[in-house]
Amino acid sequence: MKSTPNRARVEVRGVSKWFETEDGQVQALHDVNLTVLDHEFTCIVGPSGCGKSTLFNIIAGLVEPSRGQILVDGVPIKVGMAGRLGYMQQKDLLIPWRTILRNVTIGLEIQGRPEGESREVAMRYLKMFGLAKHADSFPASLSGGMKQRVALIRTLVMGQDIILMDEPFQSLDYPTRVALEAELLEMVQELNRTVLFVTHDIEEAVSIADKVYVLSKGPGTVRDLRTIRLNMKRESPIDARKSPEFHEHYAAIWNQLEVVTNIRRESQHA
C-alpha cells in the first residue's frame, strides 16, 4: 500500500528551546532528535506540558529553536518560511468575523487559489465532515467539536504533502473520532501524505501510527521510539485495536508514559 518509505522528509536535529519569562528562562525542549520518513505516519505522545506543541511550532517555522535545527527535505527551515508544511494547531482558532466556509478557505485564499475552486473543495470537505449546513454560520454558533472539525478541514484543504496535527480529534465524540481516524488514514495513504501527529490517546497512537515517539516529561526529550505499523495490515483503526500486538504496544507506551507522568496525590482537599 505504501511506497518504500526511506527518504527523510522532516529531520529534527538537536532542538532545544528555552522560553523567556519574568523569573528567568524555562526550558521546554531538551535536545530533541527525530526523523520522519516519506509517507510515514508518525505519532508523538508525551505528558501534558512536555513541549509537543512547542516542537510543532518550531517544525512549522513559527518559533525559533534556541538550539539545533529543522530540515525539511534536507533544507533548513527558518522562521518566516512557514506554509511549507500543513499545520493544524492545538487551539481551534477560527476567525470570528468569517463564516465557516470562509474560515476553511482562508489558507487557499492566502495561496492565491481561485475563489470558485477553493469554495468547491471546501464544500466537499464540509459535507464529508457533516458541516455543510453550517457553511454560512459564524464560529460563535458552533459546538466545540464542530470548531475542531473546521480547523481540521482548514488544514486538509491546503493539500501540502507533509502535515502536522496537534491533537486534532481531542474534542470529538468517540465514534466520530474513530471514523475520522479511518478517514484520515485512508486519505493519507491515497494521497501519499506524510503526517506528524500529536495525541494524548495511546490507543489512537497505536492504532494509526507507523511510528510512535514518546517524549519525556518537560523539558521534553525523546524517550522512546516504537515502530508499530498495525495500520498497514488492517482495514481500519478499529480492527487495529483488536490485533494482539495492539495491547503489547499499548502497555509498553503506557508504562513509558506513566513513569514520566507524575501527578502527586496528597489527598488533602478543601
Binding site: L62, A82, G83, R84, L93, I95, R98, I110, P139, A140
Partner: protein, 282 residues
Amino acid sequence: MHEAVMSDNVFTAQQPPASTRKRQQRAESVQSFAVRAVQIVIAVGFFALWEWGARSGAISTFLFSSPSEVWALALARIKDGTLIYGAYVTGMETLAGFVVGSLLGTALGLGLWYSRFLARVMSVFVLALGSIPVLALGPLVIIWFGTGIESKIALATMSCVIVALLQAYEGAQQVDKDLTRLLTSFGATKRQIFTKVVIPSSSSWVVAAAKLNVGFSLIGAVIGEYISSQHGLGNLILIAGANYNISLVLLGVFSLMILAFALSSFVGVVERKLLGWKLAGR
C-alpha cells in the same frame, strides 16, 4: 428507557417557539421607542425650563437668549434660506474633511503596523501635531490654504487625522497574536496578514475613531470658518458672536448639533455594515 421524571410541560408538537425572534424584535423596537421618548422628554424639559426661566426673568435673555427667540430666528433663517445654505456649506466641508481625514489617518495608523520602528519614530511627531491649537496658526493657515473652502476642508481633515491615526494604530496593536500566527502558519505574507487579520480586527477601533471624528471634523470646519469665511454655520456664529447676538450664536450651535447627528447616523450605518458579524451568533 427513560428514568427521567416526565416533563409536566406537555407539548402537542415540538414546534419552534415561533415568537422568539419576533418577540426580540418587538422588545428591541419597544426599547428604541422608549429611548427616543426619554431623549425627547429630556430635550423638551431642558427647553421648557430654559423658556420658563427666560420668561420669569430668572435667566437673562441678553446673556442666554430664550428658546422662543431662537426658534423665531430659526424660522426666519430657514425661510430666507441662509440657515440651510450655511448648514450645507459647513456640512460639505465637514464631510469632505471627515472622509479624507479618516481615510488618511486610518491608512497611516494601520500602515504603522508594518513597522514598529517607523511607528516609534512617528509617535513623537503625531503627538506634536496633535497638541497644536490650529486656531493659533490662523495666519499661517490662510497663507497655506487660502480663505476658500480648501482651508476649511484642510482643518477638518487635520482635526480628524490624528484621532483616526492613533486609533487605527492602537487597533492594529491589539490584534490577536494567535490569529496572526495562524495566518503565518499558512505561509501568509505580512501583507496578507495585514489585509485579512489586521484590518478586520481593528475595525471596532476605526469605527470608534469615526464616531469621535464626526464631532472633531465639524469643529475643524467651524474653526476654519472662524479664521476666515464667507459662508457656513461657523461664519454665522462668528458674525453673531462679534455683534453679541446670542440667539443667533445658539441657533448656529444647535444647527451644528443637528449636522453632527446627521453625520453620525451615517457613521452608524457604516458601523452596522462593518461590524455585522459581531451581532451574529450571540
